[in-house]
């Protein structure tokens, strides 16, 4: 799996935004991960604990928000959440489904500590 590359990218984004907000410490990261993104929380946490050492993000708490899968039927436009991995429309039985949500993978926010208020962007 590629969680190391992903975790390095998370750290880079968090440090960049913390620097422009003149933060002295990052205390939390809020991650949004769709159920279809093949990312394992424990593995990200494992790498995070190692690579965040000796940075201002060391010890920051990782919050994972999982987004459930939402599908839209290409035939009858019914929107639904599949209860298992069978992507079948419960209204018309069609197999042709479009993914509306569940593929997200982004850093939503960070909590920071600083001595002075950050400048408004």
């Amino acid at each position: 799996m590629h969680e190391l590359a992903v975790t390095e990218s998370m750290l880079e984004i968090a440090l960049r935004h913390a620097q422009s907000a003149r933060a002295q410490r990052i205390t939390a990261l809020y991650l949004v991960i769709g159920q279809l993104s093949s990312i394992v929380d424990d593995s990200v946490q494992f790498y995070w604990d190692i690579i965040s050492q000796h940075t201002i993000a060391e010890g920051a708490c990782l919050h994972f928000k999982r987004i459930p899968v939402e599908l839209s039927c290409l035939d009858c436009h019914h929107q639904h959440s599949p209860s298992n991995s069978d992507f079948i429309c419960p209204a018309c039985g069609s197999l042709r489904q479009k993914v509306v949500s569940g593929e997200e993978f982004y850093l939503e926010a960070i909590d920071i500590e600083g001595e002075e208020p950050a400048m408004d962007a």
């Binding site: 590359a5 984004i13 913390a18 907000a21 850093l107 939503e108 926010a109 600083g114």
Partner: protein
């Protein structure tokens, strides 16, 4: 003073930005590019060889080969007539946009019409990392089994074309083509599909026609 900073930035945005630069570089050079993804042993290198044998005399073709170790695949591509460069990922399970950029810097793109990037054999990780190539091609193969779309949905969902290799083995191994295809249809409705055999050559013509059509379509843009 504590505060929350709103970010909303894709985790792989650095990779995606570099992928966009790779795409620009390829577009400016007038090159059409394919990203070959598959499990190990599905026939990525064999399909590259077959493609080269058929069209390397009419078109300039470059191949960038990603593997954890060795230059075996790049050697095969070079022997078949391509300008070939090997990327050894040193353990990484996928190629990313940085690795492709480095390889593009090492290759003379003059006179090249088609670039084929052979990703690391893996049905999970390569799907998450954009490279900047124009189309992604998944090479499935009969002996892998008909359940692969169900087990690796992320890979099947993200590709632009699907090659089903080793169809000459259909009489010898259990493989329910209808079950396989309905799994694909769920994940990627209307996906362009090429059943073929790199061993016997059956089905190769429609694959080659598609590649040539895509190269010409890009040239006329």
């Amino acid at each position: 003073m504590n505060q929350r900073v709103t970010i909303v930035e894709n985790i792989l945005s650095a990779n995606d930005r570099l992928a966009a630069q790779n795409r620009l570089l390829l577009d400016q050079a007038g090159i059409f590019s394919l990203n070959f993804m598959a499990s190990p042993g599905a026939g990525k290198t064999s399909l590259i060889e077959r493609t080269l044998q058929a069209i390397a005399d009419q078109l300039g073709i470059a191949v960038i080969d990603g593997d954890i170790a060795t230059s075996l695949d790049a050697d095969r591509a070079a022997a078949a007539g391509a300008r070939a460069v090997q990327i050894n990922t040193g353990g990484e399970c996928h190629l990313d946009a940085v690795m492709l950029k480095d390889a593009l810097d090492r290759i003379d793109l003059e006179g090249i019409d088609l670039l084929i990037v052979e990703n690391v054999g893996n049905l999970v990780c390569p799907a998450s990392f954009q490279l900047g190539t124009h189309k992604s091609v998944l090479i499935a193969s009969i002996p892998e089994g008909d359940d692969k779309p169900y087990k690796y949905p992320g890979m099947y969902r993200g590709v632009d074309a699907l090659v089903i290799n080793k169809i000459d083995l259909l009489p010898y191994v259990p493989f329910n083509m209808d079950y396989f295809r309905s799994g694909v249809e769920v994940l990627n409705p209307g996906l362009k599909t090429f059943p073929l055999s790199c061993h016997t050559g059956e089905g190769l013509q429609s694959w080659l026609a598609w590649v040539i059509h895509e190269i010409e379509a890009r040239r006329n843009q």
